[in-house]
Every structure is written in C-alpha cells, then in structure tokens.
C-alpha cells in the first residue's frame, strides 16, 4: 500500500426535511466543506436506529453524525424528541464501553441553516481527524478478513493456497 494521507470516513444520518434540505442549501450557497462525509437520508431523525451507527462503524466509518430538525420544528411534530432521548442514552452507553464521544456527534440543522451544516461538517471532520482512524472497532475481527487479489491473480493465489494446506498436513 502506498503511503497515502489518511482521510477519515464519516457518515451522516440526516432527516429529509431539515438537515438534508440544509445540506442542499449549503450547496446552493456554494459553501465549502470537507468531502469526507457521506449523507444517508432518512425521513426523520426519529427513524434512525442506533444499530445504523454500529453498522457504520463496522463498515469502516471513523465517525458518525446524526442530525435532524430543531426541537419543536420536526416535520412530524415529535420524532426528534423521541430521537433526542434515544441518542442521549446511546451516546452515554458508547462512552461507557469506551468509544470516544466525538466518534458519534449530533446536531439540529434546519432547512435554512446551510451555513450551520457546512460548519458542523467541518467541525466533525476536524474532530475525527484529531481522533485518527477508528482502528479499535474496525480491526476487531481483522483475523477474519482477507485481501482479495485482483482478478487476474486468482489462479496463482489458489495454487498458493493449496500449497499451504498440504504443508499443514505434512
């Protein structure tokens, strides 16, 4: 592997009505922010399951942002209030089992807060940069993962593999 500069991988789970639209506004306003964050759109912050966050960590995310409408501003009236309780507890739990607090961040961003969206993404990216890659989680079952060879090399790799097994039996 070449010595590339490490770029964090960040996932943002955002609600359709406020934060997604806020992100759209950031775009329309041509605000600039780091390209590390990929957005996954859901209808409401109330519909984001904590397991999504674990899955994101499993799939190599170094940080996760969860964002929805401001309290009282929910398109569905109360989805974000339920979300707030859920995330407060989940954040505390992750902290207790030793996952750094900044790995999972939360924000309220309304449809008119394009600037805030850009600022939050910039901040989260900076925080995750400071924490470094989330190796602790990603490497948790590295013994069960392998690097796949490029397609052309398959035959050779299979031969080598056979060799190893017969070695072991000898």
């Amino acid at each position: 592997m070449t010595q590339q500069k490490w770029e964090p991988k960040i996932v943002a789970f955002v609600c359709n009505w406020c934060t997604y639209a806020g992100a759209d506004l950031a775009g329309t306003s041509r605000l600039k922010y780091p390209a590390n964050t990929k957005i996954i759109r859901v209808m409401c912050s109330g519909g984001i399951d904590p397991v999504f966050i674990l899955k994101a960590f499993e799939r190599g995310a170094d940080g996760v942002l969860v964002s929805g409408c401001h309290p009282n501003d929910c398109h569905y009236n109360a989805g974000n209030f339920h979300a707030r309780r859920r995330w407060d507890l989940f954040h505390k739990l992750l902290d207790f089992v030793g996952i750094e607090k900044d790995r999972l961040q939360f924000s309220w961003i309304s449809a008119s807060e394009g600037k805030k969206f850009a600022d939050v993404i910039t901040k989260v990216t900076k925080d995750i940069m400071a924490l470094g890659p989330f190796k602790a989680y990603q490497n948790m079952n590295s013994e069960f993962t392998i690097e796949f060879p490029e397609l052309e090399a398959v035959a050779l790799k299979e031969m080598l593999h056979e060799e190893e097994v017969s070695d072991g039996r000898a």
């Binding site: 996932v11 759209d24 775009g27």
Partner: protein, 665 residues
C-alpha cells in the same frame, strides 16, 4: 436485477468538480450495473429520452441518477422511468450537485465522493421494492384561519367554486387590518368601500360557515382528512337572537373603560361593543374585564334594553369540531410595537423615538385611523395630544425593518408605499402643512407604485430626506426630530407637530403556537414557511396546509389577495378528485413477529397505530399486535427505530435499504 446509472453533468455545475465520465465508467464495473453513462443535462428532454431508451434497450429494472438534489428532479426522473415502464420507487437519486460538486473544490476528492454516493444509491436501489401510491378519501371542506382580506378572498373563492368553507376569525368581526385603512395605495380608493361588500358576501354565503371570536385550538389528521377543534369564545350575546340594533351599546354605562383597539387605542369603547360600525357580523361582544356585571353582579343595563333578550351573561366558551380537507392559514400580521415595554423581548425597541411616551409619536395604523373618515377625528388630521392640526409632520420609514440590531433583518415591503400615501393624504387635507419623510431607500416596485411616490414628491411637495433619525424629543409643544440628510451630508433638525413611524410588520405573538397546533414550520421571526421559496410559495411543507397573506411574509393587499386566490385554487385542486394519492412512504408491521409491546403506539406522533387482536382457530385472542393505519401514517419512521424486535418497516426507507447504503460506504 439490471440497473442503469445515469450521471448528469448539469451543464458544468457537476462536471466542473466531479469527473463525470470517470464516475460513469467506475459504476459500469459494479455488480448489478448493466448500463452506465454520463450526459450534459439528464433532466432535459434528450436526457430523459436517453434514460427511457436505455431502459428499453437494456431491459433495465431500476435506475440511479447522479444529479442534483432529489428535491429538484426526483419527480422528473421518476416520471421518465414510469413512462418507460419502471416503478417510480425503483429510481434513486445520488445528490452530486448540492452535496458534492457545489461544496467541494478538489476534483479528486469530489469525484471519489461522487462515486461513493452513486454506489450507495445503487446498493439501495437493488433493495428497493416497487410501491404504489396510497389512495385516501378527501373531505371537501376548507378551514380558513383568519378573516382579513386574504382569508376573505380565499373563503369566497373556495365557496364560489362550490365547496364548503369554515372561516375562523379571532376578533369579533372579520375585516382585519384592511378595514382599518383609510385609503389604499396607489389608487387612493376608500378601503372600507371596497372591503365591506366582500365582508357581507362572506356573511351571506351559503357555503361559508363564519366563526368569529373563535380560535383553532387543535388540528389532527392529515391532508384530505383533518379534524379541527375550534374554540368559540363566549360573546355573551345569543347570535341567533341579536338583531344588531346597537341599543345595548349606546346604553352601556361603562363608556370609557377600555381602549378601542380598532381605533388603535386612539378612542374608547364601552364594555359591550362592536369593533366598528360596518362589522360583520354586526353582533356585539361583552368585554368581561370591564363589564360592571362581571365586576360586581350589578348593572345589567344591556339586558334591560334588549327587547330580543339576546344578552346571555352565562354563555360559556364552546368547542366545535369540524372535518376538514384542506387548511388555508391567513393570520396576517401585527405592527412592531416600538413601545419601551418590549425591551425584554427579542425586539430592541426604539426608546429614542419616544413612542409610548409622547402621544404625538404614532405608528402607521394610528395615522390611518386619524386620516379615516370613520375614525376618531372623522377624517380631520388632528394630533392625539391636543387635537390641534399639525402643521409640520415627519414620517420615518424603516422603523424596525432592515435593522438586525433591532431584531428584524427583513424589509416590511409596504411602508414606502403607505408612507407616501400618508404624506399625500396629509397634504390633501392640510394644504399649508409641511410633510417630511426620512427614508433609507425607496422601494416602490409594483404597478403604478413608483409613479405614486413620484406624485407625492413632485405634485404634493412632500420633502424626502435620505437618512436615519437619531432621536426625537419634546420641546415647547414641538417634537424635535434630529436626523441626518446623508445626500447633502448635513444634520437635519425638524420641529414637528406629529411624528408617524412606519413600523415593521411582524407576525402575531401566537403565530408559533398556531404553527405547532397545525404542524407547520415557521422561521425565526414567526412567519410561516412555504414549501419552496420559488416554486411552492403558497404551500406549507405540511401537505394540505396552504398559506395566504402576510402570515408568510410582509405583503400588500394585492399580493395577499392573489396569494389567497392561489391558496384557494390549491385547495380546489385537491378537491378535484374524490380520493387523494399519497406517497406510499408508510410503515407496516410484520404481525408474525410483533411482540405487542406498543412502544410504537406510544411514539407515533399521528396516532396512526392501533391494537389488533390476533386470534387462534377458535377465535380466541392469543396475542395483540400493532396495526398501522396507512391513511394516517405520515412515514416518519420513528416507530421503526423504536421497535425493539424490528418488526416495523418503513416503505421506501426500509432497514435493508439503509443497511445496504451503509455497506456501500
């Protein structure tokens, strides 16, 4: 599954920072992708044709479009897919413009990100299920909230189209601010004269149920099927019996106990009153706070004089419930109260202008009443303090508006026009008087608007001074207005007899409460938010709720009226069919696996979740499960995340799809 990927350049909007051909080429190699191409304008006709042709030619099952935000063109591409025979929900949009090309500079990073975004969309579309729109019945009745000119117009339009209207007005009479105005710009025709016939038409319209002195307290349900609870406040007058003779009003002994708010506190009214002579309905209201009967149980003069026995001291507030199909919100505005008392509010006030301290520093609506033939001075220009005719009058524009330091950043839009009107009315009545206007800019966009302002300056000799007023103080019965003429670059001092402040238009104090009741968003000022600033200006983001008039942002009469007609037509579009098609993004319970804990029921903001009994072969209930009423569900998905056994899925955003997106990171 065969997937087609279409990457749009958006002219150069995307391709400037995203290497579109590379994205398209990369996607071609992904599992499941049958066809992948980039094009300059996917949303254009040739672009859409390209999609349709590819669907036919390559027998595609689903498509992914890498383009602008789904809020822009999702519908376009879905329609294109539908016309080529693909279910519209097998179309996914990767937002490469707003979320990528426009916000990043580095081509490499943006291209990498674009690839990931498209890959996520591809993985999601693989799991997408074809969905069909949900049909729900429509109640063809409109609730109009607010009986100002916007509400009146909307109500009449809808009613004239043959649909029922419930018009709810908080005050005892409809008419709103327009009924207070003396003349209207730029034609200077009498406001009352053009408004009153409309008010009467509302009152007499068989399709309109008018509820004055009433407030909407609860709105449940959803588009086509709202249920509104309206509180009808006790008038203490039996509306069916009252003939509107007004004898009770003239005989009421408490003559000067309360300010007349219709006259902008420039006059008094008795405890039993109608706000103004042309009020609709012409039925009085008893003000409990000043009425002697409620103070000490004595008096009852009105009861004695009313030969129809219409007075009812025991009358209580009543709650009315109405089934409603669409809601038009037209609650209007109020004026920024620059009184010192508001110092603790988010508005900073204008203590330096002495409003509230000096009786002759008044606001625009007060001047309207002074200039009005039906007003407290019967149309003669007299100042409130001593009733003398002011010989020198100063108008100050932009009081509150366009001044973030005072809490309001926006332009109130109508003040330039009405100030010119005021100055003109003054000059027409006080021929030897001098009128000065302090302004920041003159904003007179509109048919005949600029001409109107020019007329004030040129024909009526109103002196316009470009600059702000720093201070107003009283000296020998005169009000010294200290300001600056920024064009001449000299300080200005005018000893005025009357000062009129063109204060900002702001939403009513309870606008946020009403917004929360109805479930519509509002901005930081309290103005209700439209669904799209350009393309959906009269719709709120809540389906079936429309906006009209100054509750959305400052507006003049013609704008309010046209917005009201637009909102009315939006409601009528809804009523054009008996059923309504809704996006099928709703939650569904897997009844086999539901454990019946009903946490979903507890969190559902819409009460869409019901208890369903599951019976065995003998008809004995052996378990209870959640059941989601698809008509009521709005698709937020809060239940899906709350469900511990994951037995609820939100169509279009189901867990499998989201997991696939996460996996594609």
């Amino acid at each position: 599954m065969k997937i087609g990927v279409f990457i749009c350049h958006c002219g150069e909007n995307i391709s400037r920072t995203v290497d579109c051909p590379r994205v398209a080429h990369f996607c071609e190699g992904l599992p499941g992708v049958e066809y992948s191409i980039d094009y300059k304008y996917m949303c254009s006709d040739p672009g859409q044709k390209m999609i349709k042709d590819a669907i036919h030619e390559h027998k595609l099952d689903a498509i992914v479009v890498g383009s602008c935000s789904p809020n822009m063109h999702e519908r376009t591409f879905r329609n294109a897919a539908v016309s080529a025979g693909i279910n519209p929900f097998l179309v996914e949009i990767a937002n490469l413009r707003e979320h990528c090309s426009w916000v990043h500079d580095d081509v490499e990073a943006a291209t990498e990100k674009a690839i990931e975004l498209v890959r996520m969309a591809i993985e999601k579309v693989k799991r997408d299920k074809p969905l069909t729109k949900i049909k729900v019945p429509v109640t063809k009745r409109v609730l109009v909230i607010g009986g100002g000119i916007a509400g009146i117009q909307a109500a009449l339009d809808v009613a004239n189209a043959g649909y029922e209207v419930v018009l709810v007005e908080r005050e005892p009479s409809i008419g709103g601010h327009m009924s207070q105005l003396s003349e209207t710009f730029p034609t200077l025709d009498c406001s009352q004269c053009i408004l009153t016939p409309r008010m009467v038409e509302v009152y007499q319209h068989p399709k309109i149920k008018l509820l004055t002195y009433s407030e909407v307290v609860k709105v449940e349900g959803f588009i086509g099927n709202f249920k509104a609870t309206i509180k009808k406040k006790a008038r203490h007058i039996n509306e069916d019996l009252c003939s509107g003779c007004g004898l009770c009003i003239t005989k009421c002994p408490t003559k000067k106990k309360a300010y007349n708010s219709f006259e902008e506190d420039l006059a008094f009214r008795p405890a039993i009153y109608v706000p103004f002579p042309q009020a609709v309905p012409n039925i009085p209201v008893i003000d409990e706070t000043v009425c002697m009967y409620y103070k000490n149980g004595k008096c009852g003069m009105c009861v004695k004089v009313c030969d129809r026995e219409a007075i009812d001291f025991e009358q209580k507030d009543t709650m009315l419930v109405a089934d409603i199909g669409a809601i038009i919100v037209a609650t209007g505005y109020k004026l920024y109260n620059i009184d010192k008392k508001t110092f603790d509010s988010k508005y900073k006030g204008y203590g330096e202008y002495g409003y509230g301290k000096y009786r002759d520093v008044i606001d625009g609506l007060q001047f309207e009443r002074i200039a009005s033939a039906s007003g407290p001075t019967a149309g003669e220009i007299k100042r409130p303090s001593d009733g003398k005719e002011p010989k020198k009058i100063v108008f100050i524009q932009c009081v509150g508006s366009r001044d973030p330091s005072k809490g309001i950043s926006y332009c109130s839009k109508i003040c330039c026009m009405y100030t010119a009107k005021h100055a003109m009315l003054y000059k027409h009545k006080v021929h030897d008087g001098e009128a000065y206007v302090f302004y920041m800019d003159i904003r007179a966009g509109g048919k005949m608007y600029d001409e109107f302002v020019r007329r004030a300056i040129e024909e009526d000799q109103v002196k316009y001074i470009r600059g702000r007023v720093s201070r107003i103080y009283e000296e020998n019965g005169k009000y010294i207005v200290k300001g600056e003429d920024t064009i001449a670059g000299v300080p200005v001092e005018i000893d005025a007899d009357l000062v009129v402040l063109a204060t900002a238009m702001i939403p009513h104090d309870n606008a946020p409460t009403l917004a929360q009741t109805i479930g519509i968003p509002y901005d930081r000022h309290g103005f209700f938010n439209e669904a799209h600033p350009k393309l959906r200006p009269v719709e709120s983001t809540t389906a079936g709720v429309f906006l009209a008039g100054a509750c959305q942002s400052p507006k003049d009469i013609p704008e309010s009226v046209s917005m009201a007609s637009a909102a009315a037509s939006k409601a009528m579009i809804l009523f054009a069919s008996d059923t309504l098609e809704r996006e099928p993004v709703v939650a569904k319970v897997n009844e086999d696996l539901c454990a019946g804990c009903f946490y979903c029921k507890k969190v559902c903001p819409f009460g869409a979740i019901e208890v369903k009994d599951i019976t065995d072969v003998n008809g004995i209930v052996y378990k209870e499960v959640a059941y989601i009423n698809q008509g009521v569900c709005q698709g937020c998905g809060t239940c899906t995340a709350t469900c511990l056994s994951k037995s609820i899925e939100l169509a279009g955003f189901n867990n499998e799809e989201i997991f696939a997106e996460i996996a594609a990171l």
